[in-house]
Symmetry: C2
Subunit: 449 residues, 2 copies
């Protein structure tokens, strides 16, 4: 069945508003086993919306419409749908009474503008709005079932969850059986990740592979709808998957099939996978610290507080995160972290020795088990040294650990450099924390790859 989405509103067409509703609805329909084939956005123009509704009614089996149900003259969805369906508008008492109650609870009276909101296509059924004024409605046209919902995201979601989803599930007898797996990858451009996984669709034709780049990491997602799964080929058990004993039992077991696919992806990406469960680098680091009952401090220069900000985005981080000293000025590096002025004079701020002293300094001041540091040049200015924009030195101090390395990235953008410096520092720490953890998978520092 073809599913479509129609989003209406001048504010979308004028670029005043980003349409987040469509992504939400696509995701929600996907969970029901329906992949949306087309999204269309139109302005508040009765004829334009009417034409689009007619076109969709000839193509799709279901269409979710958002926006244009408000009280003002530019809210035209009901009129456009009525015209498309060749029906008059009529007052729907259920919609009217619900609105009246909603206003009454808030101590307001209904205005004539609001009454207009209860005027819906004659043959439509009402969708109740429990957290706003605009009633929704649904109706059949040609082969398509249209659901019209408000454009306000919270009202739309409430209506979708409480009324539209149950209705769709029942009418179309949907029984989704969806398996999803996420991996987080750091240290490869998207094109390389894609190249490494090129054979995937041949090996596992029933599983959808998706990538979502959220600089500087990439989420690799496997989505498998196991409804009615019957592997037509045994190709995914062939010799390209090395070191796996193929069990006949796996052949028709969707779960085993899906796990096999996950293992294959993991083997291809190996050491570049920084989370086996799709966590961010900072959440993964947090998990490892919690498991070890250890604590962390950070000394930042070029990352300017971003590492600390990322770490503290994770709920519960106060359990392990003690201190970040964002020492932008050299004087602060000396005074707060105890970096020696000789080191700074001899090597400058952007140097492995400085980075190590920063890490050791913040570890000592905070009493944390682990400390990581950054000092580098995010740009656009070149900073006080002769080093190039994109250079970062990362220091690591911990139980029996005192290490520092220099890395270079080629982005010409301050914000991107901060992000990749921060991720690299978290990754250096994560690798060290995870060392000896993952049996059989040797991992090394990404900077080499």
């Amino acid at each position: 069945m073809i599913a479509e989405i129609l989003s209406t509103g001048d504010e979308v067409m004028l670029g005043d508003l980003v349409d987040t509703n469509s992504a939400y609805l696509c995701d929600r329909l996907k969970q029901l086993g329906l992949v949306v084939s087309q999204i269309t956005a139109r302005g508040d123009d009765i004829e334009a919306v009417k034409e689009t509704v007619l076109e969709i009614s000839r193509r799709a089996g279901i269409c979710l419409v958002t926006g244009g149900l408000g009280p003002t003259s530019d809210d035209i969805t009901a009129q456009a749908c009525a015209r498309a369906a060749g029906q008059p508008l009529k007052m729907h008492p259920q919609a009217y009474e619900t609105m009246k109650k909603y206003f009454h609870r808030r101590g307001f009276a209904l205005t004539p503008e609001n009454e207009k909101q209860a005027m819906l296509p004659a043959a439509a059924d009402v969708l109740i709005n429990t957290c706003g004024t605009a009633p929704g409605f649904f109706f059949h046209l040609n082969q398509c079932l249209f659901f019209c919902m408000p454009g306000v995201p919270s009202e739309m979601r409430q209506m979708m969850e409480t009324q539209v989803v149950p209705h769709i599930t029942k009418v179309f007898s949907l029984t989704p059986n969806l398996h999803i797996r996420r991996l987080t990858v750091f240290g490869l451009p998207e094109s390389r990740v894609s190249a490494l996984l090129q054979e995937f669709s041949d090996l596992f034709p029933h599983i959808r592979l998706g990538f979502r780049a959220s600089f500087p990491t990439i989420e690799v997602k496997l989505v498998f709808d196991a409804t009615g799964f019957r592997p037509e080929s045994r190709k995914f058990f062939d010799s390209t998957i090395q070191g796996e004993k193929d069990l006949d039992a796996e052949e028709n077991d969707p779960r085993a099939y899906f796990e096999k696919a996950g293992r294959w992806v993991l083997r291809q990406l190996g050491k570049k996978v920084v989370s086996l469960t799709g966590l961010s680098l900072e959440a993964e680091v947090g998990l490892l610290l919690k498991q070890r009952n250890q604590t962390l401090a950070v000394a930042e220069s070029c990352t300017g507080g971003l590492i600390s900000h990322l770490i503290t985005e994770v709920p519960g981080s106060s359990d392990y995160f003690l201190l970040s000293a964002v020492t932008y000025a050299n004087a602060a590096k000396i005074k707060v972290l105890g970096v020696s002025s000789e080191t700074l004079a001899a090597h400058g701020a952007v140097h492995e020795t400085t980075a190590l002293e920063m890490a050791q300094g913040v570890r000592q001041v905070s009493g944390a088990n682990w400390a990581v540091s950054t000092t580098g040049i995010a740009g656009p200015g070149g900073g006080p040294t002769q080093k190039k924009v994109g250079t970062v030195c990362i220091g690591l101090a911990g139980p029996g650990v005192a290490d520092a390395g220099q890395y270079h990235f080629t982005f010409d953008d301050r914000s991107r450099n901060k992000k990749i410096f921060a991720a690299m520092a978290l990754e250096v720490l994560r690798r060290k924390l995870a060392e000896g953890e993952l049996k059989g998978v040797k991992r090394d520092i990404m900077g080499e790859g």
Copy 2:
């Protein structure tokens, strides 16, 4: 001329990604005087995209296409366009060489996957990508000029600004005479901002008013296309604009008309306007510090480094930003900032006295002119005190200034709380820095409103 947008990509249809590109492009075209009539999104399906391209080519005069130019097998825009135009794909040397150079600078060699990216419709012209690998292209089909750009927002925007906009402006002889003004507002929900400016469209019917919420601030934008401007009514000079002496000369002067509108908006929003030029709070603070040749240090607890991160996103911030101490642990507050253990024992970490001692401590350690501090509860956990989630204490220390206040916000979300705490701290500092600056406009701390 009809303008349309086509957005491609499975990640959009699966709801994995919110399409922000279309809003950007709509806004950008609007600035050129073109209102987009339809936005369409399709998945990575050659036939589907081909069909949509054909349909658009019969309706529109210009179409901006994003996505599907990457190296992987699901990047199908070039193929789909070639099929729609009945052209073969051919290697475009200019696209190939630019990509090769891009990789060379980064020390990589081109892969066969990347070579595919230079295969574009035979009759297309190349659009150079200066900050990524995927080349864009443009071509004519029926009555429509198509511009195909990458889906990665930063690459798309760069290509749009440097190549597509100049091309469009030239080809279509667009001579927009556009006046744009941005104001940054903090401390009001969008619905209140909208209500305060409700009369705007009656008073200034020729100027479009837009809002863009970027939590926790709102950008208010006035866009005025003065091409052929002839005010039909004198309504905007009537008595609803108080305290303005209406000059006859202004009547037909678009610039004076636009400035009048700006002043009216400013008067309505008054003290909630934090930047008269659309700058972020952190950029506005940076500007004020630079003007005064003064420096800043920050002591953060609940904001976890976010204030520091925001400040250091501004290029040149190293001129005035010395240190942020993100003292998550109480021990760090004592050791690094010199907060007294008596204060912590008597009042707890979330208290005005603690906040003030943090600000004074970091000011002293860093030697900065100004220091601001935060200590509060971002949630979801309640923290060590009895205070509610959403409570923050902000301390301010500077020349002759030692102040602290407690604020409460009602968001139930860690990330949002961090953002609004950070913005509030920056605003407290900004107000103090700007004090006595703005003649005739009395400003007070937002928390009161």
